[in-house]
């Protein structure tokens, strides 16, 4: 019997090649999008999953009330780690971590890389594959463990164990001996540092006292019994007071344990402060592929169902005969469902072929993503494909199977049963399909508009006109500034202790009874002018004014808003519970990360003397900025021949935002185009089959005197109604969906206007008209003598 089913399936598929192609190809595209979405989801959800002890590891976090709301912090006071080691019996191991970036030298080669100072148990907690040397070498603070990345780049891929590597931090020079090489963890790992040294190194380099409760680092612990967590958290609270006494202006509210499993994902979603490790995918990259896949899969399934029902008309005699011969309904359902699952299987093969291109293309879009279509290494993918096959086959194929198997054989064989083309169900599906397509087109339009909106948004400063460099101290500042002077392309130069986009700090301030944490920048004169910030009230700092150094601050609009000041100039605030400052000026809000993802934070700028300068910032016209950057690089080499260049474009900070905006736009345009194509071919197949069914009616109408336009109108009327209903549904759903999506990605985004909806509806109607126009006209102008004779 199975052989008989296969034969008839194959032969009837061959008779409907066009519709089979439409179904298989459409579903194939949808399935390939699902494969990309799965791999993307799997990548994100598998963050840190290679760590065998992941379930036992917790990070000691704390919550601090900032600006009236609880803020989670991913670090804790430095002495806490040593305090709880041994004193809380339920804790097994304690590991402290502190990132110390720096410049290194191997032979004559100078390079910059990421380094963590860690307690030696780090390599016992977290899973690293040691390729040479031994992880226990890190007990010796003169040893360093390095990644395969460093070996490839700087050791000519020879085994570097025992070789020297020099750490350079200003005047500090430390020689480390390579104690081992570890395989660089996968990109979806929290720890991406290329080198690790003993924790004591950070105390030496920074000249810190490890018992100083005002210092913070990340601390991980292991707990063998998860039931002990509440007790450990309870005992941790006893350290709140010690810390708060030591740093009264920065009080901890409570400590809590953050499970390492899922830490990277939570860090991205919950905006955890002082999370120093690799985070999971940005919301846009994590969410968008899934939404796209679901929408496209729905459209393709609706297409599939509609076409299957429509072409079942050609199988109706077979259904009748099989029933007469004694087939049960269940057998027919199984037969037709099996056929649809077989078609889905073909679609899956097409989908896998498309995925061979789509997966690497998507992976390349995001520098922090590394997914590939690897069946051997990803057993979950095989499981997903099987589930996807069954799910899609049943979703797309079950209704046609149940529908056609329910016909009475007597009606079929008497010839009184006629179906095909459209019915209520297929009309509903087509409406939904078009509504979803409209959502996709609207999203494409709005995300494109939003990308432009994000690009044009006034970030409060002209980051694209600025290059800057970390010059370490006043001497470095003076040396580089003097070397730079005389270049006519440079319009402004300024020094600062911090840099707007890369080096700010957070401290608490008070105004009357209100208290909040603010971001602080210590800047020199002309700094605001150099970065293109705008003073909207009051004044800038006065050059060399001692009074400004001691008493004046410039605040941003958000801080004025937060304190509810009507007249901010002259208002008194208290910094760190001790320093009285008066507002001298208000600067327009500066989005220091160059992006609109997070809410603007209150910000405060203090004036510092030249002896505190650590950065030199230079402004030039946008058209000259590359030339000035190169000039600064050249001067750096002259002034600091032994130091790695620190010259950077300020706009570099914006790169991630630009990338996300661009990729979201690309993804939703792709979604819009694919959805439109799928819906158009779905409409084409339904109209074609509807016309076949109505050829007799068209013939009779023509014989009775109907004109071609009137027949075109009759055939199109049904589809025009469907498109109109879909326009309303799609517009409403599109509005809410894009608003929700944009809201989940950005704090500030494009206000949705009517233009996108008008254009999207117009596009949908025009494409539909082009798709079916020819077919309808041909049917309307056919000679009725032939159509009626055929009937």
């Amino acid at each position: 019997m199975l052989k008989n089913y296969f034969k008839i399936t194959f032969r009837s598929l061959m008779k409907n090649k066009l519709f089979v192609f439409i179904n298989v190809f459409g579903l194939g595209i949808a399935l390939s999008c699902c494969i990309v979405a799965y791999l993307n989801w799997d990548y994100n959800i598998s963050f840190d999953s290679h760590n065998v002890n992941a379930d036992k590891i917790y990070r000691v976090n704390f919550i601090r009330i900032t600006n009236g709301r609880p803020v989670k912090n991913g670090d804790c006071p430095m002495p806490l780690g040593e305090s709880i080691r041994g004193s809380i019996s339920q804790i097994d191991k304690v590991v402290r971590i502190y990132p110390i970036g720096g410049n290194f030298k191997v032979g004559d080669e100078l390079f910059r890389t990421s380094v963590y100072a860690i307690d030696p148990d780090f390599f016992n907690l977290f899973t690293f594959n040691m390729l040479s040397g031994d992880k226990s070498e890190l007990k010796d603070k003169s040893k360093i463990l390095i990644s395969t990345d460093l070996v490839e780049k700087h050791f000519n891929e020879t085994d570097p164990v025992g070789q020297l590597i020099t750490y350079i931090n200003g005047d500090q020079i430390i020689e480390y001996i390579v104690g081992g090489v570890f395989e660089k963890p996968p990109p979806n790992s929290s720890f991406q540092a290329n080198a690790y040294v003993h924790f004591d190194n950070v105390l030496d380099i920074r000249e810190w006292d490890e018992n100083d409760w005002s210092l913070f680092n990340t601390t991980f612990i292991t707990v063998n019994n998860p039931d002990d967590i509440p007790e450990i958290e309870k005992q941790l609270q006893s350290y709140v007071e010690i810390q708060n006494r030591a740093k009264e202006d920065y009080k901890v509210n409570e400590y809590y344990l953050d499970p390492f499993a899922g830490m990277a994902v939570r860090a991205e979603r919950e905006n955890i402060w002082n999370h120093w490790f690799n985070q999971s995918l940005p919301t846009a990259a994590a969410v968008a592929p899934g939404i796209m896949a679901i929408l496209i899969l729905l459209i393709a399934c609706f297409n599939f169902t509609n076409t299957s029902i429509a072409i079942a008309n050609r199988r109706i005699k077979e259904i009748g005969i099989r029933k007469v011969m004694g087939s049960h309904r269940n057998q027919l359902i199984a037969q037709f469902l099996g056929e649809n699952i077989l078609l889905t299987f073909f679609a899956l093969i097409v989908g896998l072929l498309i995925s061979e291109f789509l997966v690497p293309a998507y992976s390349q879009m995001w520098p922090f993503l590394d997914i590939s279509l690897s069946y051997k290494e990803n057993a979950g993918l095989i499981g997903f494909l099987v589930l996807l096959l069954i799910f899609t086959g049943i979703i797309a194929g079950s209704y046609p199977a149940f529908y056609v198997s329910g016909f009475q054989p007597s009606s079929i064989l008497r010839g009184t049963l006629k179906f095909g083309g459209t019915n209520k169900f297929t009309r509903v599906l087509l409406t939904l399909q078009y509504a979803i397509s409209l959502i996709a087109i609207i999203s494409g339009f709005i995300f494109t508009q939003n990308a432009q909106y994000q690009k044009d948004y006034d970030m409060g400063f002209k980051m694209e006109s600025v290059v800057f460099a970390y010059v370490e101290d006043e001497n470095g500042y003076n040396a580089l500034r003097n070397a730079m002077s005389g270049n006519s392309k440079i319009t402004e130069m300024a020094g600062s202790r911090n840099s707007a986009t890369s080096s700010w700090y957070t401290d608490p301030i008070k105004f009357e009874s209100s208290e909040m944490d603010v971001r602080l920048l210590d800047i020199g004169d002309e700094y605001l002018k150099t970065i293109g910030a705008t003073i909207i009230d009051g004044r800038d700092f006065i050059k060399d004014s001692q009074s400004d150094v001691e008493n004046s601050v410039i605040v941003n609009e958000e801080l004025v808003h937060s304190f509810g000041w009507e007249n901010p100039i002259g208002q008194q605030i208290i910094l760190r519970d001790t320093i009285q400052l008066y507002v001298a000026g208000v600067v327009k809000n500066i989005f220091i990360d160059g992006a609109l993802w997070n809410p603007i934070e209150p910000m405060l700028m203090r004036y510092v003397k030249q002896e505190n300068y650590r950065f030199l910032s230079v402004k030039a016209d946008v058209s000259d900025i590359n030339e000035v950057h190169d000039f600064m690089e050249a001067k750096w080499k002259e002034v600091f021949p032994d130091k790695l260049s620190n010259v950077r474009y300020m706009e570099e900070e914006k790169a991630n935002q630009v990338l996300v905006n661009k990729n979201i736009k690309v993804m939703f345009l792709f979604l819009g185009i694919v959805a439109t194509i799928l819906s158009a071919i779905g409409l084409f197949s339904l109209v074609s089959l509807n016309i076949i069914k109505r050829m007799k009616e068209i013939g009779v109408r023509k014989v009775l005197g109907a004109s071609i336009p009137s027949i075109v109108n009759i055939v199109n009327k049904e589809f025009l109604i469907i498109l109109s209903i879909a326009s309303v549904l799609g517009s409403v759903a599109g509005y809410y969906m894009t608003d929700m999506l944009m809201g989940s990605i950005w704090t500030y985004y494009l206000p949705i206007g009517p233009l996108a909806f008008v254009f999207a509806i117009l596009i949908m109607f025009v494409i539909s008209a082009i798709t079916v126009g020819g077919k309808v006209y041909k049917a309307a102008s056919a000679n009725p003598a032939y159509t009626l004779r055929d009937e």
Binding site: M1, N4, K7, I8, R11, S12, K15, K317, E318, G320, I321, R322, K323, V324, M325, G326, S327, H328, R329, Q408, P409, S410, L413, R414, G415
Partner: protein, 229 residues
């Protein structure tokens, strides 16, 4: 073999109720050849569909052998159909996607007849219908007469006790029509009960008994000759 009592079939649409069969009582003996005649729309095909368990009736009783089948589920009806009834249609109703051999084989597949036995039986019946040389052809490659011979082959391959034929010569020329009627007659002589709907008095002459329907009622019954049980 078949007994129906006061059988009524109503077709109901939104506004109109049509009586297709009106309190019909009829008994058909094992081995009988009955022709059902009457004008278009009198209920002939409806009666045949009900006898073949393809259609339900509204009132009355229907005994297939000893069994009253009006309460039978779809599954029971399908089981009875595939084991005991063969159908021959005016428009042949062969499946276009299957070859002659595969079309004839179909009832045996539903009866789960083993493959070797199936092949033997299909070949036997194709030989008998003189259509063996066309076994690998598709229906659309055959003439009308040949298609109907295939349809008869399909109807008898499972050796049913009853053959229901709905105007089996309606789409055939006289030569092919004659040939099909001879086949049916021969099958009847071999013991198969046949109920045939026809417009043709000539074809009806092959039957032992002619039942005339008019407006859903049996108006006359002509017994032509005795038959062997």
């Amino acid at each position: 073999m078949l007994k129906i009592k006061n059988l009524t079939k109503l077709y109901t649409t939104d506004e109109v109720e049509t009586t297709a069969l009106n309190e019909i009582t009829l008994e058909i003996q094992e081995g009988e050849f009955v022709a059902v005649m009457g004008p278009s729309g009198c209920g002939k095909s409806t009666l045949l569909n009900i006898l073949g368990l393809l259609d339900n009736f509204s009132e009355g009783e229907y005994f297939f052998g000893e069994h009253e089948v009006s309460k039978y589920s779809e599954r029971q009806r399908a089981r009875l159909r595939k084991g005991s009834i063969g159908f021959v249609f005016q428009s042949f109703n062969l499946i276009d996607e299957l070859t002659v051999f595969e079309n004839v084989e179909l009832p045996l597949l539903y009866l789960k007849v083993p493959s070797s036995d199936r092949k033997k039986r299909v070949e036997e019946v194709l030989e008998r219908m003189n259509i063996m040389h066309r076994r690998n052809h598709f229906p659309q490659q055959l003439s009308g007469g040949q298609q109907q011979r295939v349809a008869v082959a399909r109807a008898i391959v499972a050796k049913p006790r009853l053959i229901l034929a709905d105007e089996p010569t309606g789409n055939l020329d006289s030569t092919n029509g004659e040939e099909v009627m001879k086949l049916l007659s021969q099958l009847n002589e071999e013991g198969t009960t046949i109920v045939m709907v026809t417009h043709s008095p000539y074809d009806a002459n092959y039957a032992h008994r002619i039942v005339n329907l008019f407006d859903g009622k049996i108006v006359t019954e002509n017994i032509k000759e005795q038959f062997h049980i």
